[in-house]
């Protein structure tokens, strides 16, 4: 493996996640529309939305401090780095030493902190309400995430994504209850973190129960575009994370041929489309739950993760 190839892979990975993120959101929206017997916008609509927002005038409240204007850039940067660290179509040896699950959680927590701070900064009621709810959910969701990471590190002996993926790749698919519990837990957390339907409705701006949209209500123009891009990236990140940890088959190993990389890319695209369809289906199938039930929902994820860890202690089979 030459240095230039490592570098090219890392850059390609960074460009790829940014390029595919709006597409994933587009596919979810299109599928949802189809399931509701609507025609829906094209799957490329999120690209157009973001491009339009980038061109539009940015309006900033008189009361906003520098935090309000700096937050979108920071959120996008942190989320982009986190999304780049998750291997998508191939192992990225250049990023592997820092592609640690705890680093990713830390970056996402920093982005969440910035968003909540920005929500509080302009001093409207909605912003503070959204920020307080976001933090309420995070107090349960983050321990659950760390517990899942703990379980995975018991299995693989490391918290580095590349090695976890390699460990899971080497096992025979079958009845691994700890992995299954961790999978369900992580899928529930992905729903909580991305504000998808049982927790928050990403399509509404009019509900008193909204969380994410409440925090970004005051944003417009370029800032809103950056935040929407970060949101799409976060969804892609969680899908990639679940794919790389629990279904890593098809991931091209480092230093393989161009054909193998192409194949890995194809498999990754299939995984994304399947995940988008499943997410849309689950969003259609359920109703939004009460805000105060969400910590319970995240608590179930915590319970599943803890159970997975406890089961690992009893016997070595996972």
């Amino acid at each position: 493996m030459v240095v230039s190839e490592t570098l090219i892979l890392a850059i390609l990975q960074a460009v790829l996640v940014m390029a595919l993120a709006p597409l994933l959101t587009g596919i979810v929206r299109k599928t949802k529309a189809g399931l509701q017997r609507r025609r829906g916008a094209s799957i490329f609509q999120p690209y157009r939305d973001i491009a339009r927002l980038m061109r539009k005038e940015t309006i900033i409240s008189h009361d906003a401090s520098w935090i309000f204007t700096a937050a979108p850039t920071f959120i996008l940067a942190a989320t982009w780095v986190a999304a780049t660290l998750v291997p998508t179509f191939a192992q990225t040896p250049g990023l592997a030493p820092i592609a640690d699950l705890i680093v990713i959680v830390g970056l996402l927590a920093a982005a969440r902190f910035a968003l909540a701070l920005a929500g509080l900064d302009i001093g409207t009621a909605f912003g503070g309400l959204g920020a307080s709810r976001e933090m309420l959910f995070a107090t349960v969701a983050e321990p659950a995430m760390l517990m899942i990471i703990f379980g995975l590190s018991l299995i693989a002996g490391t918290t580095r994504l590349a090695e976890i993926a390699a460990t899971v790749q080497a096992t025979v698919p079958g009845l691994h209850i700890s992995l299954m519990l961790a999978f369900v837990g992580l899928a529930m957390l992905a729903v909580v973190e991305n504000g998808r339907i049982p927790v928050d409705n990403p399509a509404t701006h009019l509900e008193l129960t909204m969380v994410h949209e409440a925090m970004i209500l005051e944003y417009s123009g370029r800032h809103l575009g950056l935040i929407e891009l970060a949101q799409a990236l976060k969804l892609l990140l969680y899908v990639s994370l679940i794919a790389v940890v629990f279904i890593p088959w098809g991931l091209a190993p480092a230093g393989s041929t161009l054909l193998a990389y192409g194949l890995g890319f194809g498999v990754y695209l299939i995984k994304l489309v399947v995940a988008a369809k499943l997410l849309a289906f689950f969003e259609i199938a359920g109703a939004k739950m009460r805000v105060f039930r969400v910590p319970q929902f995240a608590g179930v994820a915590l319970m599943l993760a803890l159970l997975a860890v406890l089961l690992l202690f009893v016997s070595r089979s996972f």
Binding site: V172, G174, L175, H176, I177, S178, L181, P295, Q296, G299, V300, M303, L304, L306, L307, L310, L311, F313, V314, S315, R316, S317
Partner: protein, 217 residues
């Protein structure tokens, strides 16, 4: 697929279903979850029969399936329909604290069994850990619930844990297993009568009402 993985999977699912029993706050889903737990238990016993080459365990599995997966849930559904309490949402102590207490109990079961059974095989040990967890979670359910029907279900799930422990141990006499199964059935009949009686007497399924009762007419 090796035997240990399957046994681990089934026993782990039993503990998971015990947790989801704690999570339910409406009676019909509670009964369905209990039926699911008994079904998984029957499968686990069937798997034990396969791995231990003990055909009499298949009869135990059949009894488990017939009684606890089919008969008892049907009877309980019939009872709550007749008492017209199938729509009530039970006031539980609070799902969050209950689940946390449950996790602490599972940790306790694990710590205890790891220390108490250093010499025995992995399969038997993991069965014992899970069985003790199911028993403790069933007890927790009986403590935290106020509705008599869910206390009955808590009791039955304790018995599920006992059966899991019994079948994990080699050489458990068949007579003991059948008599345990029948005693559960008798317990169902007794609790059924009890349920109708307290309903008739206090107009409620809440056992807290009994605390005030001093025997006056």
């Amino acid at each position: 697929m090796d035997t240990l993985t399957v046994a681990h999977f089934l026993a782990g699912s039993l503990v998971l279903l015990s947790f989801s029993l704690l999570y339910q706050d409406r009676l019909p889903p509670l009964i369905n979850t209990f039926a699911a737990q008994s079904l998984v238990l029957a499968l686990a016993i069937g798997w034990q029969a396969e791995t231990q080459h003990a055909p009499h365990l298949l009869i135990t599995a059949a009894i488990e399936f017939g009684f606890k997966t089919v008969l008892i849930p049907l009877v309980l559904t019939w009872i709550i329909r007749n008492l017209k309490i199938h729509r009530t949402v039970e006031i539980v102590v609070g799902v969050g604290p209950t689940i946390l207490a449950g996790m602490a109990l599972v940790g306790l079961a694990m710590a205890l069994m790891m220390r108490a059974t250093p010499g025995i095989g992995v399969l038997a040990r993991q069965d014992l850990v899970f069985a003790l967890s199911v028993v403790l979670l069933g007890m927790l359910m009986m403590v935290t619930r106020r509705n008599a029907v869910s206390q009955v279900i808590g009791f039955m799930s304790i018995e599920n844990g006992l059966v899991l422990a019994a079948t994990g141990a080699k050489g458990m006499p068949f007579v003991v297993e059948t008599s345990v199964a029948f005693s559960v059935l008798i317990a169902l009949i007794v609790t059924g009568i009890f349920l109708f009686r307290i309903r008739e007497r206090f107009d409620s399924m809440d056992v807290a009402v009994i605390d005030q009762f001093r025997g006056e007419r």
